[in-house]
């Protein structure tokens, strides 16, 4: 263990009290100097940029026949088509670029929906306590007993085949994760001195919860949110592979492109590699950034 780490351990207890605005500023200062966080952030930025300006960036439209193909001869990467052509003669690069938007959309929408649900339940459980808390936590235990992907399959199957049902399915899976995380945070904050102080000066419980406890409990939720974007993109691909996803062929989706590529593995491996790498790229960007954000927000790692 390095000396700075040893020190970090010693002053963990002290630093944990030092939260609020200065913690975020401090975290930002550390992130800016962290090469791994910058790499992750740059990957995320590139992904978001491509998702937004994709239609202007892509050399061909999503359904354009860019070149001639036969089922046994699907040209791979060339100087004209950087990522090669797909089984219908469409430009793979354009489809990968255009697919970014769907992945980002699935990630963000399912994250926001899941967070809203999870935070509502978490705040209710953490702030009210008692039987409300017990009831919510028991329901969460039940839901968490079903493996995530399987649960998402169930929800998506019930809602019918579309991108919207994939988003809702992934959001539903995220709800218990956020709820449990926030509740735990709030419970640990409830005993803190500043809460006793706020209560003793006569502030109402609602004010104490929303103005004091919640802002101090939120940083692990931000970290979890970043990491959840990565898993949402991966899970959406998995659901698409199982035939649960959008059906519109003119809207490219990385997961479905990857799923469709399995019929051409021996002759056209590029159809698997490019959408696959795109998923890994986006997910890795969010993961790298999220992991470093966690460390930056955690006083234990302060140096």
């Amino acid at each position: 263990m390095s000396l700075s780490e040893a020190e970090a351990r010693v002053d963990t207890a002290v630093a944990a009290e030092d939260v609020g605005g200065s913690l975020l500023k401090e975290a930002w200062r550390r992130l800016r100097r962290d090469p791994v966080a910058i790499t992750g952030g740059a990957m995320v930025a590139l992904f978001v940029l491509v998702a937004v300006i994709g239609p202007w960036l892509a050399p061909y439209g999503p359904s354009d026949r860019a070149g001639a193909v036969t089922p046994t001869m699907i040209p791979g990467p060339s100087s004209q088509f950087w990522f090669g052509l797909d089984d219908l003669g469409r430009d793979e690069l354009s489809r990968v670029i255009l697919g970014a938007r769907q992945s980002l959309l699935v990630g963000v929408v399912s994250l926001v929906l899941g967070m809203i649900g999870g935070l509502t339940l978490g705040v209710l459980a953490g702030a009210l306590g008692g039987w409300v808390d017990s009831l919510i936590m028991r329901i969460i235990d039940i839901v968490l007993a079903v493996p995530g992907l399987l649960f998402a399959i169930g929800v998506a199957a019930a809602l019918g085949r579309s991108l919207q049902s994939v988003m809702i399915a992934i959001a539903v899976v995220n709800v218990p994760i956020f709820a449990r995380l926030l509740r735990g945070q709030m419970l640990s904050q409830r005993e803190a001195d500043y809460v006793s102080a706020a209560t003793s000066v006569g502030l109402r419980r609602r004010v104490v919860v929303f103005r004091h406890i919640l802002p101090n409990s939120i940083s692990p939720v931000i970290v979890q949110g970043t990491l959840t974007l990565a898993t949402a993109i991966i899970d959406a691909a998995g659901l698409a592979f199982l035939g649960l996803g959008g059906t519109d062929p003119s809207v490219p989706e990385w997961g479905r492109m990857l799923a469709d590529s399995q019929d051409y593995l021996s002759g056209a491996i590029h159809l698997a590699i490019f959408p696959g790498l795109a998923i890994v790229f986006a997910a890795l960007g969010f993961t790298l950034f999220g992991e470093r954000l966690r460390e930056a927000l955690d006083p234990k790692y302060r140096r």
Partner: protein
């Protein structure tokens, strides 16, 4: 200790009951009524009413739930629309394959992950440590089925070292399957060629399936060992002049591996849901592929049955892990 076990067992009851309510509600939320999907276009008001009477769908919802609960408790999970056979029979037929696959994957994940995490922690900050971290990050971000495609392409299609699909080679004759565990069957029937062939069919799917648990186990082991090596009792042991190997075995590993055991239990959920994707990629005839096919066929009885069974397995295994944890670590029992 007995009280601890009983209390943990009692906690199962509300979870399983809640799960059954959830699944019961889920089937009712599915698009299209049972009568509609059975009769299709031919449904008239009379035939629909007859079908609803036949399946008890005209009964009050509480009565229907009670019937569902009784059926599930007696392992009657309905009939598969794909195979027209009881879902329970299909499970018995297909589970050995999935157990074989997840067992091999778990062996890979634990066998590689624990030592890798341990050495990464002991060589903190070296290239081995950085490699383990980068590897585990890649492991959790690569979609299981994408990795499956890549493994299949490189080792099966291009190099031809391993089979591309299935559980066994049809060209090997005289193969008998008394247990359904193909590797085991090969040994039992003395057909070593069949055992070796079955094992070769397991390698690639198990590797693909093992990546996420492997990455997680590596990280947790590393973090846990890093925590423990700085504990006072390790320093005391060093100060007493104990052999390094004794400290590693008695003080570091014994304490560091406790959280790892819990994490291994939690990986089972990932392995079971990962099997759905992996088995589909490798056309491996287990429950995972059956579930994937059921989604395409809208075979909801199968999906419902498997969610129930997977969840029960997951909950029970984690309960066993908890109990084992209590046995190993007396501190847990007190809480």
């Amino acid at each position: 200790m007995a009280r601890f076990v009983v209390r943990r067992l009692l906690l199962l009851v509300p979870i399983l009951l809640g799960l059954s309510i959830l699944l019961f509600a889920w089937v009712r939320a599915l698009p299209g009524s049972t009568a509609n999907s059975l009769l299709g276009e031919r449904g008239t008001p009379e035939t629909i009413a007859a079908v609803e009477r036949l399946y008890g769908l005209d009964q009050p919802i509480a009565v229907q739930y009670w019937k569902y609960l009784k059926q599930s408790a007696t392992f009657d999970l309905g009939t598969s629309a794909q195979t027209r056979r009881p879902v329970t029979d299909e499970m018995v037929r297909l589970f050995p394959g999935t157990i074989e696959l997840t067992a091999v994957a778990l062996v890979i994940a634990v066998g590689v992950g624990v030592p890798l995490g341990y050495f990464a922690a002991r060589r903190y900050g070296t290239w081995l440590d950085s490699g383990a971290i980068v590897g585990s990050l890649l492991g959790v971000t690569i979609p299981v089925f994408f990795l499956g495609f890549l493994l299949k392409y490189v080792f099966a299609i291009k190099l031809g070292w391993l089979p591309t699909a299935g559980r066994s080679d049809q060209r090997i004759l005289g193969v008998d399957h008394p247990t359904g565990f193909y590797v085991l069957d090969g040994f039992i029937t003395g057909n070593l060629a069949a055992a070796w062939d079955a094992f070769k069919h397991l390698v690639l799917p198990a590797l693909a399936l093992a990546t996420i648990p492997l990455a997680i186990i590596t990280r947790i082991t590393r973090a846990s060992v890093l925590d423990v090596v700085h504990e006072d009792y390790v320093r005391t042991a060093e100060a007493k002049g104990l052999l390094a190997s004794t400290i590693t075995r008695r003080h570091i590993l014994r304490n560091a591996l406790l959280p790892v055991v819990t994490i291994i239990g939690l990986q089972l959920g990932l392995l079971l849901s990962g099997a759905i994707l992996t088995e589909t990629v490798f056309v491996f005839n287990g429950v995972g592929k059956f579930v994937a096919d059921s989604i395409r066929f809208r075979d909801y009885a199968v999906i419902q049955g498997f969610i129930l069974v997977f969840a029960v397995i997951y909950v029970v295994v984690n309960l066993l892990v908890d109990i084992a944890y209590g046995l190993v670590d007396p501190r847990v029992r007190v809480r």
